[in-house]
Structure formats: structure tokens, C-alpha cells
Symmetry: D2
């Protein structure tokens, strides 16, 4: 468990784009990952919501981390995401888990929560994707 | 045509996240959009390729622009993306078009090209998604 | 609850393709649907497993029923399905639920279980899709 | 080319579900497949259109054939489909092609056309999926 977290932190810190955005790793275990992302002004789109590309990035990364914790090293083959509600939030939180895993492929699912202090968190996106062992 | 481009430029400049990354609009017409993104060091992941989240962002935005040019204002309901080859490139180029459009919904498709001066460009991702008139 | 089931049975019986295959409705409530399908010899593909098209059909229908029970009448806008394990089974069972619903659109998810008497059931596919109120 | 067609015909005939529905193979080459399906009364849903499950089955099979013609034997890992217009047709025609292929994975795309004698054919669905060499 501790090893998963150490490895996950190392990978996250080795991703310049995750450092640019400021992503945090809250939890990593076999087939489970939780990533968090404090929302900044420059993450928004033209209507003041978090840009879909930011939400997608976090979903993609969480899916890969969940699948990667199955396989060691892993890549995202593909994923799909449904934006279910505009994201107005201080923080995004991606909870990913493996729905099913074989020897080389895992199907992972992810919920993205929009969180703001004092408000009820809500799901702003759900994603499903295929992760492959490298 | 000129009006599409002016409107598209205005929307792109009104997206803080697109300004953060430096996205350019090359073409916008009814059901067609081409976006470009010069790759920076801080867009990479741990193996030196462009982070999937950057590729996804660009696909998402290009799909929305192509669908938005059908409807005026539009939102992305959902999309799926296949990463077909790691992106090692000086520039990403997203070419999106509408495959079919109804009164309120359009299905759009997008190819993401990895371009480097002196090399043959190649497709690094293909995406398909649903755009809805606002 | 009883009304949902009566309406659901009526719709299922009004679908010639569902009658051709022999689909049953086990449960239907707001945002929840369970469909079952006894597997016949003529549902298989060339390796003796249930054809992906049969699994897809059941996922599609379950997603639509779950979303339809949110909205009254509904259509499937799109969905994606991951085949996570070949389906060798006497019966397929699709369990669908709404992940999030707005006024006109719902995002639904579905697990397809492969069931054989005396064996442990297993998930052979997971799906996610967009359902729209008619 | 002739060999592709012979192999494709053999696989199609070895699929009991494809025989049940009556699918035909019109074209098969490296990364390309065209399947056709004459529509019968028992393929419909409750509003008189071809059931989405039939459209999905044909898309799934065409994607697999297109990818299979890259790899020899192949399975569908996943796909997504957008239903862009209700299918009222005498015949469905699925045109699939490979968008990009690596050593073991291919990303394929497919258009489903609704065809009726005397009417203009139209696209009723578009799909995109991942095919893996066996």
C-alpha cells in the first residue's frame, strides 16, 4: 500500500503536465486511485466553468493510475467521458477503480466530483476506459 | 466564413485554459474546425511524450468547435478518444468535422496529428463525440 | 414500482427484436433496470462464445430502460461497451443504473453478467451511455 | 484479396448469430470491411425503426472484420456507437476501415448506412472501436 503511494507520487511528479496543473495523489492501491486537483482561474472555459479538457485530463490520469496499479506500468488505450454537469468547484476529485482486469488489459471507471467548501459535492463527469500493461 | 473565424477566435481567447496552453484556431466553418497547439516541455508525461490529457483537451475542444459551428453555441455531452500512437511532436493539430447533425445534437469526429518539422506527420489519436446546441 | 414494471413489459413486448431473442425484464424502477436473456445456440460466434452483438444489444436495451425510467419515453443517443471477458453462459443478465440525470439527458452505466447454473457468475462487459428524453 | 473474402465468408458462416440475422459480406481487404444486412420485421423496436441492438451488432461485426483483416484473427476490445438518425430501411450497410494500426491493436471506424430502394441512403450510426490481434 505504502509502496503503491510512493510509486504513484514518483510518477505524478515525473509528469510535467501534472506538475503544471498541480495534481495530487490521495489514494493508490491495486485497481484504485484517487487524484485531486485544486481549481485555478486559468483552468476555466468561457462560461466560468472548469474546462472540459481539465476534467478529461484528470479522468484520463486517474483511469491510468487505477489500471497501472494492476499492472505496474501501463498506458491508456482509450476512454470515453460523459460530462454530466458543468463543473463549478474549488477542487476536482477523481475516484477511479478497475471494473474488470485480465492479464494485459483492464477496464477502469472513474467519477469526477466537483467539490467546494460548504457545498454538497456533486459528480460532474463519469468515464470508462481501457488500460494496457506496458 | 470570416464570421465563423472571428467568433471562434473570440471564444478561444475567452477560455483561460486555452490561453494557458496556447491553442490556435486555424480553420472554422460549418461542421469543421482545425485547432493547433505548439508543444511545450510542461505538456509532457513521464516518458517524454505529450500527456494524454493535453491530446484529450485538444480533441474535446476541436469537437466542440466543429459542433458549435453547426449550432452557434454548443456544449460537449460526451466523447471517446483512442490514443493510437504516442505523441512526440513540436505541434499537435486537431482536425474535426461533423459526421451527422440533427436539430440539437451533432456527432463529430476528430483526428489529432503529431507534427514535427522535417518529419512525416502522423495520427496520434482519433476521437468521436456528441455536441449539443445550448 | 408496479407501474414501471407493467410499462416496461409492454415496451419490451412491443419490440419485435427483443421478442426474437427472448429478453426478459426482471426489474425496473426510476434509474434502474435489470434485463435477462437465456442464451441459445444461435446467439454464438465462431469460437462458441455469445456474439458481442448479443451482449451489446442487451447492454443498449438495459441502458435505455434505466434512462427511460427517468424520463418516461427515451432514446439512446450513444453508448460505449468494453468486452472484459468472453461470455460463455446459459444466461446473460444486464444490470443498468443511472449515474447522473439532468432534465433531458441521463448518463447510465451497465454491467453484463454471464450466468451458468453451478458456476460463479462473472462480468463479461461494462457499458456507459447517454439516454435522452423524447 | 480473394483470400480475404473467402476467409471472411467462412468466419461469417461460422457465426450462428450472423446466420440468424442473415448478414452478408460485400467487401473485405486489409483494414476494410463492408457488411450488409437485409432488414426483417423482427429486427424492429417499438416505434417501427430498426432496433439499436441490430445496428450495434452490425457495427461491432464490421469493426472486427476490418481489424481482423489487419491481424488475421482478432477480437473487439471495446467500441462506442452514436445513433445519429433512426434507421428506417430495407437494408443496413456497414462500411468499416482502420484509422490506425499498431502491432497488436487497431482503431477502426464504421459508418452504418440505411438503404431503401428509391430513397437516398443516409448514415444512421457511426462507431469507433479497438480491435486486438488474438
Amino acid at each position: 500500500m505504502k509502496d503503491f503511494m510512493e510509486l504513484g507520487q514518483r510518477i505524478l511528479q515525473a509528469q510535467p503536465f501534472s506538475r503544471l496543473l498541480g495534481t495530487g495523489l490521495e489514494h493508490l492501491a491495486a485497481g484504485e486511485a484517487v487524484l485531486t486537483l485544486p481549481v485555478r482561474e486559468d483552468f476555466l472555459q468561457q462560461h466560468g466553468y472548469v474546462h472540459g479538457g481539465v476534467v478529461s485530463y484528470l479522468a484520463d490520469n486517474a483511469l491510468t493510475f487505477a489500471g497501472g496499479a494492476e499492472f505496474g506500468d501501463a498506458v491508456t488505450v482509450e476512454y470515453k467521458i460523459n460530462y454530466v454537469r458543468p463543473a463549478k468547484a474549488q477542487r476536482l476529485r477523481a475516484e477511479a477503480k478497475t471494473a474488470a482486469a485480465g492479464k494485459r488489459l483492464a477496464t477502469c471507471q472513474c467519477e469526477i466530483w466537483a467539490e467546494t467548501e460548504g457545498d454538497e459535492p456533486y459528480i460532474c463527469a463519469v468515464a470508462q476506459g481501457t488500460i494496457m500493461a506496458k
